[in-house]
């Protein structure tokens, strides 16, 4: 069981995640239409690239967009959750060691203490975002069951991973749960709203090109995000 989950199943999950995401990005770009979108793709390429990068950058960097600055509490929770979900797993000592053992490649890791703190903060941030959904009427009205499901899928590997890492003795149950929930998360990415892992970049680049080449970009002002 353990061997299967950490062997073929793990590879399958990664494959589904990566290929699925690539497919979504490919389909997104393929489905763009200059006439329907009223954006001149392929013209003014340097303005387009500039607009796209500016658009992505301002939202990827904490507090770099007006909107992030206008909602500092939510923005903080948002970034903490995403750091916990994306950055921590990549630089976690335990994860890097597994890769190193199997493939002989490795990269710098983060101290376990820091990883712990970031994981806890991410879990708390997730819970806060969940509570916010119910607490604020403007968010409650647009919340769907899918949104709750996604949050559950995302928090599960964090919680199980944290407990597994801190279990002395027989940690097998939690470790197994961590592996399973992690794989569920990976597989869910391309098929659910988690696809924003790639579609965020597509969508942001597209609107960046729109503003950068058409809506003011040619007059040097683009838009301030």
């Amino acid at each position: 069981m353990y061997a299967f989950l950490t062997g073929p199943m793990l590879w399958l999950s990664f494959a589904i995640c990566i290929l699925g995401c690539a497919w979504r990005a490919y389909m997104y770009v393929k489905g763009l239409s200059w006439q329907l979108d009223r954006v001149a793709y392929g013209h003014n390429t340097d303005l387009a690239v500039k607009g796209a990068l500016k658009s992505i950058f301002h939202w990827l960097i904490p507090f770099a967009s007006c909107s992030w600055r206008a909602k500092p509490v939510f923005a903080t929770a948002f970034f903490l959750l995403h750091i916990g979900l994306v950055i921590v797993p990549i630089f976690l000592y335990a994860h890097v060691m597994i890769v190193a053992e199997r493939f002989g490649v490795s990269w710098p890791t983060m101290p376990d203490g820091l990883a712990d703190i970031l994981t806890i903060l991410a879990i708390l941030a997730g819970l806060f975002i969940l509570l916010r959904r119910f607490g604020l009427s403007e968010v409650r009205i647009i919340t769907t069951r899918q949104d709750l499901g996604i949050m559950a899928i995302s928090l599960a590997p964090l919680v199980t991973g944290f407990v597994a890492a801190h279990q002395s003795g027989d940690g097998n149950g939690w470790l197994l749960a961590h592996i399973i929930t992690g794989e569920i998360w990976l597989i869910a990415v391309p098929f659910t709203k988690l696809s924003h892992a790639v579609l965020f970049f597509c969508s942001r680049a597209q609107i960046g090109i729109d503003f950068g080449t058409k809506r003011g970009g040619q007059r040097g002002s683009g838009i301030v995000w």
């Binding site: 013209h43 909107s67 009427s137 968010v139 009205i141 969508s203 301030v224």
Partner: protein, 469 residues
């Protein structure tokens, strides 16, 4: 009843149909018939499959339901933060629902969607700046309007407006003859004060071709005269086309994309015919958006550019002041608290925030310009955009929407609002009439005329004085 006599899925194509619809006062029968207008579900779904692609589909799918867009929408704020006014909700409960149900929606749903599309969104595109995914509800609402229009669910006035463009290639029944006559009449009328002033029609290879908003010849032809005088003072070599002079597009508000194409092609044909070095449009904001920003795409121009460089009036004024073609008499600069209304259509859609400020630096004595908060790219819609101003059925909602601008203006303490965009100008006029806050509002042209230094050689000679009483 699948289709009514007044309310149906067919666009207006003849003058008779137009007159018939106009005769239905305030659309009474039209809206009555709408109650039983049938939805062509197959056609609706087929259209969606053909036109709801990557960008729109992804926007609908990836919306994180985070609600960050809520506060960005002035309609949400001004309507006491009603959750139904959250941009994401407005689109998910209309377009999102139609897509999820694969077009299987009924009459009541469509009427509700019509109300949302035309009375809860002015397509001001402000929310696009506040959404992490860059989801632009203004664009999506425009798309939704197109779907609704194709099924006959469109406010009466906009069905007429789109019909006007189809029949007259103008938002009002101004024919080519009416237009040319107005040009002659206005030129003649100015002769005493401005000897030699012309409004040249159909001059080829001019430096400037000027286009306008049909309301100008129809309701305030002085605006055309003022444009002529300013070009005259600036020494411009300019012309107007006899055909293709109307730059606005109510069909864009209506979501009648076919009429949009017909309209803009008419203007582009004039450019091709007269070959001006560049085209300058009037102060109207949506006219600029229709003909210059979106128009090239309707006309099938993949580079997104009109056939000749086409600039907004604000750009020409800034240039004329900068280059000294127009000189302002310093003694006549505005010396009272004044504020400026940024039109969404050329701020967020054309980037003219600084250009407008440049003009103001010439017109307003330092210290007298008080900016609204927020302003420039972050400005709020005047409250009457996207067709909202003209729809009688939604007048109460529109009047409520005006409160945002009213309060912004009041907070500046200004007594004069400079509002180049026609639509904003209207909204500000209406808010004054509705709420009496004792303000004035003005286009740029009359202000410029009051302040500009007239070169000696253009002034009328006094010889004939004494002939008259």
């Amino acid at each position: 009843m699948p289709e009514g006599i007044y309310c149906n899925k067919r666009p207006i194509t003849t003058e008779e149909e137009l007159k018939a619809l106009l005769s239905d006062t305030r659309g009474t029968k039209y809206y009555e018939e709408m109650l039983s207008l049938e939805v062509d579900r197959e056609k609706l779904w087929a259209t969606i499959q053909k036109t709801c692609k990557s960008r729109t589909k992804t926007w609908l799918d990836v919306c994180a339901r985070c609600g960050l867009c809520a506060d960005s929408c002035f309609l949400y704020l001004v309507n006491d933060c009603k959750p139904e006014q959250v941009p994401s909700y407005k689109i998910q409960s209309t377009l999102g629902e139609i897509v999820r149900r694969k077009g299987d929606v009924d009459n009541a749903f469509m009427r509700h969607a019509m109300e949302v599309a035309w009375s809860q969104c002015t397509c001001c595109n402000r929310c696009a700046m506040y959404c992490p995914h860059g989801i632009d509800m203004g664009v999506m609402m425009g798309y939704t309007r197109g779907l609704l229009y194709s099924q006959g669910f469109v406010p009466w006035e906009l069905k007429i407006g789109a019909g006007m463009h189809r029949v007259y290639r103008a938002q009002m029944d101004v024919t080519t003859e009416d237009w040319v006559e107005t040009c002659e009449w206005m030129a003649e009328e100015q002769q005493d004060d401005w000897p030699g002033l012309e409004i040249p029609v159909d001059k080829e290879d001019a430096d400037i071709m000027y286009t306008c908003n049909a309301r100008e010849p129809k309701h305030y032809p002085e605006d055309l005269a003022e444009a002529a005088i300013l070009f005259h003072i600036a020494g411009e070599n300019w012309t107007v086309p006899s055909e293709g002079w109307e730059q606005t597009s109510l069909s864009m508000f209506a979501g009648d994309w076919e009429a949009c194409k017909l309209q803009v092609e008419n203007v582009y044909a004039a450019i091709d015919r007269l070959k001006p070095k560049r085209v300058i449009g009037t102060e109207c904001g949506h006219a600029h958006r229709a003909t210059v920003i979106e128009g090239p795409f309707w006309a099938g121009r993949p580079d997104g550019q009109p056939p000749a460089p086409y600039i907004h009036y604000v750009q020409w004024v800034a240039e004329a002041l900068r280059e000294g073609k127009l000189k302002i008499d310093p003694a006549k600069r505005i010396k009272q608290p004044v504020t400026y209304q940024d039109s969404c259509n050329y701020i967020r859609n054309w980037g003219l925030a600084e250009t407008a400020r440049e003009i103001l630096s010439y017109l307003v004595e330092p210290g007298y310009l008080i900016e609204m908060t927020p302003n420039k790219e972050h400005n709020y819609c005047c409250g009457g955009g996207g067709g909202f101003n003209g729809i009688g059925k939604f007048r109460p909602q529109r009047n409520k929407a005006l409160l945002t601008k009213r309060d912004q203006i009041l907070a500046t303490g200004a007594k004069l609002v400079i509002a180049p965009c026609h639509n904003c100008w209207d909204a500000i006029r209406d808010l004054e009439e509705e709420y009496h806050i004792h303000i004035d509002w003005s286009f740029l042209k009359p202000l410029l005329l009051k302040m500009v230094i007239v070169p000696e050689h253009l002034k009328p000679k006094d010889e004939e004085e004494g002939d008259e009483e």
